[in-house]
Homo-oligomer: 292 residues x 2
DNA sequence: AAAAGCCTAAACAAACTATTGACAAACCGC
DNA sequence: GCGGTTTGTCAATAGTTTGTTTAGGCTTTT
C-alpha cells in the first residue's frame, strides 16, 4: 500500500490521524493498521474509499453509543512461529480482538494460503492437543475452532463463485463433526474455480446417492477425523461405486487416515493426501484423468 | 441494468429522483432500488416503461388516498415472499450462484437485519420443514444450512470488533447442533458493540463454570432447539447460579422454548424471547439492570 | 557531509459520473 | 407500408473522485 495513498486519505478524509515523532514523522498505531486492513478489505469487495470510510465511521458511532472507550496496543509480529504462539495464546484467552489483529496482520504479510496452512492448521492442532491432554478447556477449544471456522468461511464468502467449473461435493462422514480441514479444501478449490457443493458436518449416508445422481458431480470427497467415522466413509464409497450410469470419482481423507495410514486401504476410493495442498493437487490430477 | 437507462428514465419521466452528494453524484435510496426492481418485473412481463411507471404512479396515488402504511407494508411483504421463494428454490437446487445473486439483491434493498430475520430465518424454517416431511433430502438441508451459516459468518467477520463492550457468552446446549439462530444473535450483538465470545454447537457442561469464572462475562446465553437439549440448559443454569463471587446473568432461548412454552419455567434464568430481535432488547435491558 | 527517506503542497492522470443531444430499433395508429 | 412516437443506447464534453507523481525542504542514517 503506497505511502502517498495513506497521506492522501489522511489529508482528504482525516480518518487516519497517526501521532508524530519530534521530527514530524508519522507513527502509525496498531489501531491505524487495523483500520487500514479493514478498509482494504472493503475496497477489495468493490467499495470506494469514501464509502468504506463512511461505513467505518457509522459502525464506530453505533458501537460508541453502547460502550465507553478503552486502549490497547501490541507489538508487530513478523515471524510465523511468533504468530502461531501469540494467536494460540489470544484464543485460549477468548480474546477475539487480539486474535483478529494478529490474523489480519498475518493475512496482509503472508497471504491467505500460507496463513491457512502454516498458521491456522498448526494452531488448531496445538489447541486440540492441549485439550486432549486436559490442559485446555472444552470451552476454549470450541471458541477457537468456531473463530477459525468463521475466518475461513468469511474468506470463502468473499471469493467469487463459479458455476462453470467442475462440480465437487465436500462433506464430513456420518457422525463426524470436525469440518475445519474440509473448509480449507473448500476455500482452496473455490479460489481455483471449482464449483463446490459443501454439505458440512455429519452427512448421512441415506438418500446420499439419490442426491448425487440428481446433482451429477465430477468428484465427491468425504472426510473422516476419527477412526469411528471410517466405516461411514466406506459405506458411502461403496454406495457411489454401486451407482449406475456416470458416477462421480470418490475421494477421501482426514486426520483419521493420517494417524492410521493402514485405514487408507480399507476404503474403495482415492486417498487425497495428508493436507489441503496435497488434496488440491490430487483433485486436479483426478479430474484431468477422468476427462480423458 | 445500464446506467444510461436509469438516467434516461429520470430525465424523461422524472419518476426517479435520487438524492445527490455534494459532488452531484446520484445516491439511490433503497426505495429507489425497490421501484427499479418492481419496474423491471413489469417490463419482463411485457409492459413498456411508460405503462409500468403510469401504473406505479396510479398505485401510489391510490395508496395515498387510503391507508398508506398498510399498502406499503403489503407491497414490501409481497416482495419479501418472492425473495424467500426464489431463495429456497435456488438452495434446494444446490445453486449457490443464484442464491448469491438473490441474497445480494435482498441485502441491498432491505438491509441486513431485515434479510436475516425475514428472509434467512423463514427460508431455513421452510427447508427444515420440507426435510422433516421427507420432501427435501438431507443433503439439500445440509447444503442450505451451511450456505446460510457461511453468509452470516461473513457478515460477522466484516463487522468491526470491539473489546471494550460488555462480554456476552453464546453457546448451544450440550448435544445441540443447531446454531443458525444463535449466529444471528451473535451478528446483531456484535453490530451493537458487544464483545461476544461464541462457543458454538454442543457446549459441554463440564469445566464450563471454571471457564466462566476465568472469563467473568456479563451474560451467558445458551440456546436449545430440541426438547432433549433442555436438561442441559437447566444444568448449566444451575451451575452458573451456584457460582460464588460475581456471577454472570444467565439467559436462554431457542426453538425448543418456542414450540413448548411450558419449558421456559423449568430453567432458572431469563427467557430471552422468541426471536433474535426480542433477544437483543432483553440483553440490553438485562445488562442495564445489572449495572445498577 | 552525503545519501536516503519522509514531510508538505500542489499538480496530474485515470477512472468514473453528469449532462445534453443524437441515433436507431421497435412500436403504434392509420 | 408509413409517419410519428417510444425507448434503449451512445457520443461529446465537463466535472468529480482518487491514486500517484513532482518539487522543494527537513530529518535520520551512514
Amino acid at each position: 500500500m503506497p505511502a502517498a495513498t495513506l497521506r492522501a486519505w489522511e489529508r482528504r478524509y482525516g480518518a487516519l490521524a497517526p501521532s508524530r515523532t519530534e521530527g514530524g514523522y508519522r507513527l502509525y498505531s496498531e489501531r491505524d493498521i487495523m483500520l487500514l486492513i479493514w478498509l482494504k478489505g472493503r475496497i477489495n469487495e468493490g467499495m470506494t474509499i469514501s464509502q468504506a470510510l463512511a461505513l467505518w465511521q457509522y459502525q464506530e458511532r453505533q458501537a460508541r453509543e453502547q460502550t465507553p472507550p478503552a486502549e490497547a496496543n501490541t507489538e508487530i509480529r513478523a515471524d510465523l512461529s511468533d504468530v502461531r504462539q501469540s494467536l494460540a495464546a489470544a484464543l485460549l484467552d477468548f480474546d477475539e480482538c487480539k486474535a483478529d489483529q494478529i490474523l489480519a496482520e498475518a493475512f496482509a504479510i503472508f497471504g491467505f494460503e500460507t496463513v491457512s496452512e502454516r498458521i491456522i492448521v498448526p494452531v488448531m492442532a496445538h489447541i486440540g492437543d492441549r485439550w486432549h491432554r486436559g490442559k485446555a478447556s472444552t470451552a476454549a477449544e470450541h471458541f477457537a475452532s468456531n473463530y477459525m471456522r468463521r475466518k475461513i468461511e468469511a474468506l470463502i464468502a468473499a471469493g467469487a463463485r463459479r458455476q462453470d467449473g467442475p462440480v465437487v461435493v465436500l462433506g464430513c462422514a456420518p457422525n463426524d463433526w470436525h469440518e475445519l480441514g474440509l473448509l480449507l479444501i473448500y476455500l482452496f478449490l473455490q479460489r481455483r474455480g471449482y464449483n463446490v457443493v459443501y454439505l458440512g458436518q455429519n452427512v448421512p449416508a441415506e438418500q446420499f446417492v439419490d442426491e448425487m445422481r440428481r446433482l451429477s458431480p465430477d468428484l465427491v470427497m468425504i472426510s473422516a477425523t476419527t477412526e469411528e467415522s471410517v466405516p461411514g466413509v466406506i459405506a458411502m464409497a461403496e454406495a457411489i461405486a454401486a451407482m449406475d450410469g456416470t458416477k462421480p470419482a470418490f475421494g477421501f481423507g482426514g486426520s483419521a487416515f493420517n494417524t492410521n495410514p493402514a485405514l487408507r486401504a480399507t476404503v474403495p476410493g482415492v486417498f487425497m493426501g495428508e493436507d489441503a495442498h496435497a488434496a488440491l493437487a490430487n483433485v486436479s490430477n483426478l479430474l484431468a484423468e477422468r476427462r480423458k
